[in-house]
C-alpha cells in the first residue's frame, strides 16, 4: 500500500537559517511527489512537485525539494527561512501507474515554526 511518512511533528528554526522538512514514501512504481502548505485558517496550497527529470525541484516562495529514489525520500528545503514560512506542511504521493485522477496520499503534516 502507498504511504507517506513525515517523521517530525514540528520543526523549529531561526529566521535566516536553512530549513529541512523530512518526507519518506512507499509506493509501487515511480511516484508523483508533492508538497503542500497550509497557513492558519486557509486551505492547502500547492508548493512543488516531482514528476520526472531533475531530482532537485524548485517551487513557490523559494522552497525546493530533492527526490532521492534510493532513500525513497523527498525532503523539503529552503536556504534561508522567513517568519512568514511558519505553517503546516504536508508531503503527498501518487503512483504513476494508477489511472487518471487518482487521489493523493498525504502524510500527517509537519508544523514549521520560524522564530525571529
Amino acid at each position: 500500500a502507498q504511504s507517506v511518512a513525515q517523521p517530525e511533528d514540528q520543526v523549529n528554526v531561526a529566521e535566516g537559517n536553512p530549513l529541512t522538512v523530512k518526507c519518506t514514501y512507499s509506493v509501487s512504481g515511480n511516484p508523483y511527489l508533492f508538497w503542500y502548505v497550509q497557513y492558519p485558517n486557509r486551505g492547502l496550497q500547492f508548493l512543488l512537485k516531482y514528476i520526472t527529470g531533475d531530482n532537485l525541484v524548485k517551487g513557490s516562495y523559494g522552497f525546493e525539494a530533492e527526490f532521492n529514489k534510493s532513500q525513497t525520500s523527498f525532503h523539503l528545503k529552503k536556504p534561508s527561512a522567513l517568519v512568514s514560512d511558519s505553517a503546516l506542511y504536508f508531503c503527498a504521493v501518487r503512483a504513476l501507474a494508477h489511472q487518471a485522477g487518482t487521489a493523493l496520499i498525504f502524510g500527517k503534516g509537519t508544523t514549521l515554526s520560524v522564530s525571529s
Binding site: V4, Y32, F34, G43, G101
Partner: protein, 116 residues
C-alpha cells in the same frame, strides 16, 4: 478565476444530528475529491468523483457518509447521524482532466465539523 469554495466553514452539531457540507470546484474541473483531517493526523482520502460518477469511494468510513455530485458540478457530503469521531476538517479539492493534469490538486479552505 474562482477557486474551490466550501460551505459552511464551521459547523457545530450534536451527536445524532445531520450535517451537509458543500463543495463548489473550480469551473471545468471534472475531478472532485473529498478528504478529512482529524486533529493531528494525516489528511485521509474519502472519495473521488469524475464528473457525476464515483470513481473511488474506498475511503468513506461507513454508511453514515453519503456524497453526491449531481450534474457533475458541486458536491455535497452528508453525515447522518453524526458521531463524535466524525469531528475534523473536511477538505474538498478539484483537478482538471488527466490530459492536462499533472497531479496538482486545488483545495478549498475546508469545513470544520465539531460533533458534541
Amino acid at each position: 478565476e474562482a477557486g474551490v469554495t466550501q460551505f459552511p466553514s464551521h459547523s457545530v452539531i450534536e451527536k445524532g444530528q445531520t450535517v451537509t457540507l458543500r463543495c463548489d470546484p473550480i469551473s471545468g474541473h471534472d475531478n472532485l475529491y473529498w478528504y478529512r483531517r482529524v486533529m493531528g493526523k494525516e489528511i485521509k482520502f474519502l472519495l473521488h468523483f469524475v464528473k457525476e460518477s464515483k470513481q473511488d469511494e474506498s475511503g468513506m468510513p461507513n454508511n453514515r457518509f453519503l456524497a453526491e455530485r449531481t450534474g457533475g458540478t458541486y458536491s455535497t457530503l452528508k453525515v447522518q447521524p453524526a458521531e463524535l469521531e466524525d469531528s475534523g476538517v473536511y477538505f474538498c479539492a478539484s483537478s482538471p482532466d488527466w490530459g492536462t493534469n499533472t497531479g496538482e490538486l486545488f483545495f478549498g479552505e475546508g469545513s470544520r465539523l465539531t460533533v458534541l
